[in-house]
């Protein structure tokens, strides 16, 4: 079951590189949050209740509900229905997405040969997601899409933690918490200031600070 969930996590990414609709992005992010929660819930017996409560709050409440809701609201307010004109054509990004997945599996194969204790499937999907998140951050122009790329990266990191079954000390929990702070900060910045400053929140406008070599 957990493998099927993990695959769905990956397919979500693939679907995401296929579309340019903001709402799909948000739905995929929320879906991934839910999958992460289910994956953690599966390990319920192995975790102490505090960690479990903490992590499920983080995945279910935060990643599945709050963040997508905020993103949704931003999209509605700024009327950026879709990501127009990415640097790379859509069809290309699907092809690249697939190639990334294959590469991710190859890396996983290599890694799991050296360290068999790694759970290969979530590791591979997490690595692929990570690369695609970078790809989105680097190629998409709109700030909100970049934030979504960042969210994807966070999800990939969570999946990575599950894959590697690192015993979660309190510090890792703290780390998760601080990531949330950063995100909240991003949102505040985004909601409060960037929106009022630009009619269209696009990275293209953020070019006044630039140097020619």
């Amino acid at each position: 079951m957990s493998q099927i969930l993990t695959i769905l996590f990956g397919v979500g990414i693939l679907y995401l590189s296929l579309t340019s609709r903001m709402r799909t992005y948000i739905q995929v992010i929320a879906l991934q949050g839910l999958i992460l929660f289910l994956l953690i819930a599966r390990d319920f017996g192995e975790l102490d209740w505090f960690t479990f409560f903490f992590l499920s709050f983080e995945t279910l409440a935060f990643k599945t509900l709050i963040v997508p809701a905020v993103l949704w609201r931003i999209v509605e307010r700024t009327h950026v229905a879709r990501e127009t004109d990415p640097h790379i054509p859509q069809f290309g990004s699907v092809v690249i997405g697939t190639a990334v997945f294959l590469a991710g599996f190859a890396v996983t194969d290599w890694v799991s040969r050296i360290d068999p204790s790694v759970d290969a499937l979530p590791f591979g999907i997490a690595v692929s997601t990570l690369i695609i998140a970078f790809f989105i951050i680097l190629t998409r122009k709109k700030l909100i899409t970049q934030v979504m790329g960042y969210m994807l990266m966070q999800n990939a990191v969570s999946l990575l933690m599950i894959a590697m079954a690192v015993e979660l000390p309190l510090l890792v929990n703290l780390g998760v918490l601080l990531d949330i702070f950063t995100l909240l900060f991003l949102f505040l910045l985004f909601l409060g200031k960037l929106h009022s400053a630009y009619e269209e929140t696009s990275r293209e406008r953020l070019t006044s600070l630039r140097d020619q070599p």
Partner: protein, 305 residues
């Protein structure tokens, strides 16, 4: 023997029932009551009783194509795994024949559409050809993956072995998704094509059969429904447990098929049709899924049970 009888019986009813379920679900989602579940079947009976008008500019291709398409599709269905994964006809490598029969049916539909000389039908044929080019490799790739995992080349054995052996969950999940997407594509459903559209410019399948009438039209529509049913069959073969006793298996198959239809109906009620220019990207997703299944089977063989 019973299984074969059931398989053939299902061939006659289930495709129409699937169409009926889809339109019922769409109707319910739209707040309507909807037609009876077997309405598509009655429609076909009505069409069969009617005569046909054939355009004078067409050649023999146009006359032959509908019957040929139906015959090829039916034969392909006989090769497909049915109740308890039993095939009516089976031999080593039947999977290739099955896929090529589908290709043959499609080929004749395409040239018959071109044969009419109508601009709209030519456009529809062109789109259909383009989409097939993208979709076809995914089916072959996935079939190849199954063969690689199981070592068998016959449809029924393929699924049985693949499931009992080291069968990665990756391929099961991607396969199910793949078959579902193919069902939507080949069945000409939303988001690829809209069976209810009345604008020739946006049609794909419907525009190809504009000139067909009477029994010919009935044949083509039956063939289309059969293709959808084929993918439901494959999904069932993928997800149903191997060690199912005959009686539950006989019920499980239609259940899976109708579930697929219901899901397709839900998708149709929720999703809008893609712009034509977006469809190839969507279809490439099927190739991507097949590639992932292949990669996962190669890399995780034995690793991930």
């Amino acid at each position: 023997m019973v299984a074969h009888m059931l398989n053939i019986l299902f061939l006659l009813f289930l495709p129409f029932l699937m169409l009926g379920v889809m339109s019922r679900i769409k109707a319910l989602a739209g707040g309507r009551k909807g037609p009876p579940l077997l309405q598509p079947f009655f429609d076909m009976l009505k069409l069969l009783r009617k005569g046909a008008v054939v355009s004078r500019v067409t050649s023999w291709v146009f006359t032959v194509a509908p019957s040929l398409a139906l015959a090829a599709t039916l034969t392909a269905l006989l090769l497909a795994p049915g109740v308890g994964r039993a095939q009516v006809i089976s031999f080593d490598g039947d999977i290739v024949l099955c896929l090529y029969l589908l290709g043959l049916a499609k080929f004749f539909q395409l040239i018959s559409a071109l044969d009419t000389g109508s601009a709209f039908e030519g456009m529809g044929a062109g789109r259909e050809a383009l989409f097939s080019v993208i979709v076809e490799p995914s089916l072959f790739l996935f079939a190849g993956t199954l063969a690689l995992v199981s070592g068998a080349t016959s449809f029924g054995a393929l699924f049985t072995l693949a499931q009992s052996g080291a069968w990665p969950a990756v391929a099961a999940t991607t396969g199910t998704l793949l078959f579902f997407l193919l069902m939507l594509t080949e069945g000409c459903r939303i988001p690829v094509d809209d069976p209810n559209t009345h604008l020739e410019l946006t049609m794909i399948h419907e525009v190809m059969i504009l000139d067909n009438a009477g029994p010919d039209l009935a044949f083509l529509q039956y063939a289309a429904a059969l293709k959808m049913y084929l993918f439901a069959l494959l999904t069932a073969a993928l997800v149903l447990p191997v060690d199912l006793s005959p009686l539950p298996a006989a019920f499980a198959l239609p259940a899976v098929a109708l579930l697929c239809a219901a899901l397709a109906g839900i998708v149709e009620s929720l999703v809008a049709r893609f712009r034509i220019s977006h469809v190839p990207q969507f279809l490439f997703l099927t190739v991507a899924l097949a590639l992932i299944a292949l990669a996962a089977s190669v890399y995780f063989r034995g690793g991930v049970a």
